[in-house]
């Protein structure tokens, strides 16, 4: 996500950019090729296990999914490539307009989740970063705590809360507010579940960028005549934007691919693109189509991230 260095940064250099004290007077570093090469070799050595890991567990499955996406389905053997022929029709099938409403719904869920996470997560991250003091680590631990149990279990817990005879209705009923509210099987329930599930992914990068922020910036803004609101908006929020960008990506992308939440908290009208893909590997019996849909979703995300970071990134990162 790091923004590439701008040309400005590279060219105009009357004084070497340096934040370190005393560094300005230092003589320019002369490169020593032999040393550099051994450093490079060391770096390769360090990256070795990572490279193997990524190749095995990221690249290989990706290649397999792409390979599947140009296959032909079968009853016994779910993906075939008869005569080595590539079957591109899965992609036209995946782009069938009948999937469009589901795709739009999925994007809407992910967007709503992201916005909700941002609205809930920002004050949380801000308070922990600014006023957490010695409790910072404890509070962060609490944010991460839900990860200690499976996402599935937590969604079941929400179902237990939201069901017709669940906790929410029981409590509301005992308060005389009626006990027949329909919470599950609604779009709201799905967004709620997603928001609950992905909030930590928003809070952590936000916290990291807010924590890093120089508290002096806020005083500087006050000093320059900026009131509290303006300071928050122009300084606190703006300087945390790298965190916001990271948080938005980390929330939006998994929310876009999620299929567990709509299945557990949603109903018949909350099918998402992710659950449609999932269905293709199960009862839909169409692995090639599911793979093609997955590839398209991935491409959509890649393009989206690229556009997003190149538009927002230049200004922020």
């Amino acid at each position: 996500m790091a923004a590439p260095p701008t040309s400005e940064e590279v060219t105009n250099g009357a004084e070497p950019p340096s934040g370190d004290e005393g560094a300005t007077g230092a003589a320019p570093v002369t490169p020593r090729p032999r040393h550099a090469r051994s450093e490079g070799a060391k770096a390769h050595g360090l990256l070795g296990p990572t490279t193997i890991w990524l190749t095995l567990f990221l690249l290989a499955p990706l290649v397999i999914v792409i390979w599947y996406s140009v296959g032909t389905r079968g009853v016994i053997n779910p993906v075939q490539h008869p005569g080595g022929k590539l079957n591109w029709s899965n992609f036209s099938r995946a782009l069938d307009p009948s999937f469009l409403p589901i795709f739009i719904r999925t994007v809407a869920y992910a967007a709503a989740t992201t916005v909700a996470s941002l609205i809930l997560g920002f004050p949380l991250a801000y308070v922990i970063a600014r006023f957490g003091g010695t409790w910072k680590n404890v509070l962060l631990g609490l944010i991460i705590l839900p990860f200690w149990t499976s996402y599935l279990v937590r969604m079941y817990a929400w179902r237990f809360i939201l069901d017709e005879n669940g906790l929410a209705n029981t409590v509301l009923g005992s308060l005389g507010l009626g006990r027949n509210h329909q919470f599950t099987n609604t779009h709201w329930a799905v967004v709620l579940g997603l928001t609950y599930g992905f909030l930590p992914f928003m809070v952590l990068p936000l916290y990291a960028s807010l924590e890093r922020m120089d508290a002096g910036l806020i005083e500087a803004a006050y000093d320059l005549g900026s009131n509290r609101f303006s300071t928050f908006w122009r300084i606190t929020f703006r300087t945390s934007l790298p965190g916001v960008v990271a948080g938005v990506l980390l929330t939006f992308i998994p929310a876009l691919g999620d299929f567990v939440t709509p299945q557990l908290l949603g109903g018949t009208r909350t099918q998402t693109f992710g659950s449609t893909i999932q269905d293709q590997f199960g009862q839909g019996q169409n692995w090639p189509l599911g793979s093609a849909m997955a590839v398209l979703l991935m491409a959509f995300i890649l393009v989206g991230v690229f556009v997003y970071t190149s538009r927002v990134g230049e200004d922020v990162l």
Partner: protein, 374 residues
């Protein structure tokens, strides 16, 4: 394998009071992940060949979640000295993906009839040596000649049941005896049907008065429309209906017979019914995956479960129907006399098995995708 263990734990977290869980308790997520994982490395295949050298005293048994009596395995070990490693799965898709991939190390699996056919067609099962299973004579003749595996060349039936309706008559406000129960006003938004293509289409075909195994394009289209219309009335399409049925979140659900009886143990109001326009019956059978390392022990287990008292203990526990005719005298009266567990012959005649449809199954799969995404 750990997924399945987690699965069990997940289930118990939510209701520790439940004595046991559905054989079909279906956390699709896990199934999907397992299937996807299996798909990722489709290599290997049946490693060890059978019949070479004496077998170790071990048996790796892969069964549905909580689909066995507490006494079954200890009894087998006691009788034969064979140590059993017992793992669980929760969907046929999951099982099929794993077995197709090969190299699982399992000696004994319990696929449902239509998947038995798929596995036979895929050459994924070892042929049985019936001379080693003398108790096969104890089977009800109808399970010796079943269309999915006539003559028990590949499979020995484990338990059977029907796919009907579980419902709460009080909440529904009347008795339900057919699929039309979904149309009752009280049921609207409080019902579910199975997230299984063939089960759902079979229901639709029965409701429309057609052959549940029909592959005629017109029938599939009619069933698809029926299901899309039904989808608007129900709360969920799910195979995970036991909890809600128990708690009242669902008051009517397309359900597997044994599941409903298990719910009944905790919520007496819930009833099971075999719809009068018809429903599928099914049978899960013991099979030996190709390349199993302990096929001899697997045969011994098959023979063991066909012992009258052993088979009866299993049925008494899981409350599904037993294919073991010799076991009937030892089956609890409440189970034996329950026409919903063991329907009389005339009713049974109307209950069909899911016929393997070959390539036509894909048409139903596509229609199912259309239903799900409509």
């Amino acid at each position: 394998m750990t997924e399945e263990h987690d699965n069990v734990r997940v289930a118990f977290l939510w209701d520790p009071t439940s004595p046991r869980w559905s054989r079909r308790r279906f956390l699709q997520t896990m199934g999907f992940m397992a299937a996807a994982g299996a798909a990722g490395t489709s290599c290997g295949g049946g490693g060890g060949s059978s019949g070479s050298g004496p077998e170790a005293k071990r048996l790796n048994f892969y069964n549905w979640t909580d689909y066995i009596a507490e006494s079954t395995i200890p009894g087998f070990t006691k009788a034969t000295g064979i140590k059993v490693t017992y793992d669980n799965y929760s969907s046929n898709d999951d099982l099929f993906a794993k077995i197709r991939q090969g190299g699982t190390g399992y000696d004994l699996i319990v696929p449902t009839d239509n998947f038995v056919v798929k596995m036979i067609d895929g050459g994924l099962l070892e042929k049985l040596d019936l001379s080693k299973i003398p108790n096969v004579k104890n089977l009800d003749p109808r399970f010796r000649t079943a269309a999915f595996d006539p003559g028990n060349r590949y499979s020995i039936p484990w338990q059977w049941g029907t796919t009907g309706i579980g419902y709460d008559p009080d909440a529904v406000g009347s008795r339900v005896d057919d699929w039309t129960g979904f149309d009752l006003p009280a049921v609207k938004g409080r019902s579910s049907f199975l997230d299984e293509a063939r089960d759902a289409f079979g229901m639709a075909m029965y409701a429309l008065g057609k052959d549940p195994n029909s592959t005629a394009a017109g029938d599939i289209e009619a069933a698809r429309k029926y299901l899309i219309a039904l989808k608007k009335k129900v709360k969920q399409i799910t195979s995970d209906y036991q909890d809600p049925l128990k708690s009242g979140g669902l008051i009517l659900a397309q359900a597997y017979s044994g599941d409903v009886f298990q719910v009944q143990a905790e919520n007496k109001k819930v009833q099971y019914v075999i719809p009068k326009s018809g429903a599928f019956q099914w049978v899960d059978s013991l099979c030996i995956p190709k390349g199993a390392k302990h096929p001899g022990n697997a045969h011994k287990f098959m023979n063991y479960i066909l012992e009258p008292k052993v088979g009866a203990a299993l049925t008494n526990y899981v409350q599904y129907g037993t294919p073991n005719k010799a076991a009937l005298p030892f089956v609890d009266k409440a189970v034996k006399d329950n026409p919903l567990i063991m329907p009389p012959a005339d009713v049974l005649a109307e209950l069909k098995f899911q016929k393997p449809l070959g390539e036509a199954e894909l048409k139903i799969a596509d229609a199912w995708t259309s239903v799900k995404t409509s």
